[in-house]
Symmetry: C3
Subunit: 348 residues, 3 copies
């Protein structure tokens, strides 16, 4: 698996982790148990008892600690074994790996590199469910496919014209047009205008210029505001980013996160909804319905693609023009993975 480890991966929706109830997740094939302690602290440990490899996620929270419910070993939040029933001495090496973990923007994020190097400033600026300006729906979808294939999908929106012809309803002109692509320190920015005469289906109102932009950030986080402006705005802006003060309608935000569970399975977390001044709960529910349909279309295509890859002896791709974002992002990943491995070798 070719993924950056020094990054924050979304492990769960924060509202799905109840205090005192351990929860299992697999990230980059590492088994991880998450729990909230009595004092409210969030803990992420290797989900594998040192004794006989039972999963700690079947365990019991006791105050700040977690007890393996096979033979009773008790673990500290830092991974050390605090107690072995009926035994006075606990060996010093008796510990499981601790992961740095943070709760932010309604997601629980796990840092897959060395816990001591975790930097919360690197958590992407998703819009959480509690953001005062937005009315958001949310969910997740499990894939029988490698996370990289989902990232590739999200890095080339030309697929909207084909995969999503029936849901998002992009025309074929959309696929032929190319967005402006800019490198970010840990990702890529896509920007384009869809003028009033082309592109997406309108809602039936007056013609609008749609400003289409999103950031795709390590390890696989998509952050996308959407907005429509009166026809002519694109030209007024010189086809650059619109001033936030300009009049806008249909403003929404979607945050999405792709997490590699194993080498062939992934979890896809997402939220979407209108800005409070542009819609209500009904619009949120309508958008979530469109998302459910569209993400189902992606899942059918990507899982089928994975099956073809799995049964192809020497699978090769043939890059095309619309792959620019895919190529740039994967090159960034390759470079960072290489640097991580060199860093690890230097440290060793």
């Amino acid at each position: 698996m070719n993924y950056v480890r020094n990054a924050w991966y979304v492990a769960a929706w924060a509202n799905e982790l109840a205090p005192g109830t351990p929860s299992a997740i697999r990230i980059l094939d590492d088994p991880i148990v998450l729990y909230r302690t009595e004092s409210g602290r969030l803990v992420a440990l290797e989900d594998r008892c040192v004794h006989r490899l039972a999963p700690l996620s079947l365990g019991r929270c006791e105050g700040e600690r977690l007890r393996c419910m096979y033979h009773g070993l008790l673990f500290e939040p830092d991974g050390r074994v605090a107690e072995i029933p009926g035994q006075d001495v606990v060996p010093a090496q008796a510990r499981v790996r601790r992961y740095a973990v943070a709760e932010k923007h309604s997601w629980i994020w796990v840092w897959m590199g060395e816990a001591d190097r975790a930097d919360e400033a690197l958590i992407p600026n998703a819009v959480g469910l509690d953001h005062p300006d937005y009315i958001l729906g949310h969910g997740h979808l499990d894939y029988a496919a490698e996370a990289r294939l989902i990232n590739d999908n999200l890095l080339d929106f030309s697929h909207l014209s084909y995969v999503h012809a029936n849901s998002f309803g992009a025309s074929e002109d959309w696929a032929r047009d190319r967005p402006k692509i800019t490198m970010l320190p840990r990702g890529i920015r896509f920007e384009r205008w869809v003028p009033a005469q082309s592109g997406f289906r309108s809602g039936g109102g007056p013609p609008v210029d749609a400003w289409s932009t999103y950031d795709f950030l390590l390890p696989g986080i998509l952050l996308m505001p959407s907005a429509s402006h009166p026809a002519g705005t694109a030209e007024k802006c010189g086809f650059g980013p619109p001033d936030p003060a300009l009049p806008a309608s249909g403003v929404t935000f979607t945050s999405q996160a792709v997490t590699p569970l194993t080498d062939k399975t992934s979890r896809y977390f997402f939220s979407w909804g209108p800005r409070r001044d542009c819609g209500d709960e009904a619009m949120r529910d309508m958008l979530m319905g469109v998302a459910a349909m569209a993400f189902g279309e992606d899942k059918v295509m990507i899982e089928a693609q994975q099956r073809v890859i799995d049964t192809t002896p020497d699978p090769r791709i043939m890059p095309i023009g619309s792959d620019k974002g895919v190529v740039l992002f994967n090159r960034l990943v390759d470079r960072m993975v290489r640097e991580e491995r060199e860093g690890n070798r230097a440290a060793a």
Copy 2:
């Protein structure tokens, strides 16, 4: 997989391929998409886009062509890419494999060797559903077993006395008797008489001599007429093939085809029914009921056999007398596979 590639494999019942709707099939582990063009042409292509390996069978027929519905690449019936959205130049090497394909006797046949060497004269003489002389039922059955095990089954009818004791109702004498076996250019012919006093259950009418014969042809096609004659006919014919002009009753025909999907899965296509002067739709339905029971019996045995083989470290068989047809056919396959490979090496 030890199968002849220069042969026509049954890919589908022709009536199951609707115009404008691509259909996926796997033959010899090759992923293949079938479709009918607007003008009615039949096309078989590698079911794997050159771009990112999405299956073309999730695509959209456009006139004579097929569009990949992931990022919109458009394919010609010969496999070449005609269009890449938003890109002026299409690389010359952008093409998928084309397979020769033919529709005959109500089946769609795919030639698994080089398309240019395909010879329609080699399509076996099955009896199609539209044959004026027969009233045929048809169906298919999927196996979790290697096609060769099904071929072996069909090449040794001694199993009728055991596997089909309850359906076809062959006596144990049937298994002890040996048919005459003759080599054909691309298969084997089995012939025998079952005199009035022995063998299959009679239908309650006057005693008959049953003439039992079938051809088993590459790659796995069984063609079997059946007929009963007044008692004494076998002797009158010197126990050779009966003259077609002789009075006959209970005349039926079954065409069967075994297609290797992958190395451990197969599809079994079959039709059966009476000659128009010997039965009606009710008899056809009765025969299909018997076939459903009997083919279910085969499936239970062959899939169980496959599971034993799969869990046996070094599986070896011990040939017996009734295996003669199996041995001769597999020897033919081995020789032709060897010649194909030598031919390919010489060509390379």
Copy 3:
């Protein structure tokens, strides 16, 4: 798989093998067919026809013999082929492996070593369903886990305090206390007193001292009587085994057997119930209800443990104090397996 072959494995409950109906079982990954002959003899053969590897368990009992229902080969109870339909000569090497098999204590036992070395004196002293002194319920449970993990579970009852906190209801003191462990020629004996003031939940009657002991014998047989005695008995016995003549209440017996089917699947057979003077059918049913709950708790934990092991590149355990029985038993297994292999090499 690291298991002793010169041992009796439980293959089935005797009451589940109907006369004339062959039954398939896999032990140590060997496919075995069991059947009772017309004369009542019990036969265990390799479940794999010499001809084309069809399973004989799909066959037909004929008197003392078993016929393969694919092409009709007939097998003697000693594994030799008696008949090949339509063939005069049967090759001398045409035979399947015979296993020594015995019916005792309501179980059918198969000796997995050389049949000629089978010694029925080595069958453990389980309490059969027909034992006059006991009223027993019985059942079995299939595991998606290696048998050794179940044996390990049964060799360390400290897990009762955690896995079975809700069913058997052992306190955490139970886990901290260590039983006396004694080696037996083919197993291990565990013994301890649980004095009236501690340990298991009482049934609401007067305080009792519970005598807790069980034997765990090769290949994976647990035999456990339970009894309660008036408070003070433990001390009177010097904390040694109680005299059988002492007054006792709540006397029960459970026999359990762990059989490795394949390297990752197992079958767990069990019976439990009160001694006739200490309970009735209602108590038996109550105990079976507790067992169903408790064995379900074990299954959840052990199958989860197996999944963690399967996805851990180099799984290592860290033994703790309560593992003493596990370590001693596995050491015994390792020694006997080594001796068996050396014996086989010497014999070869």
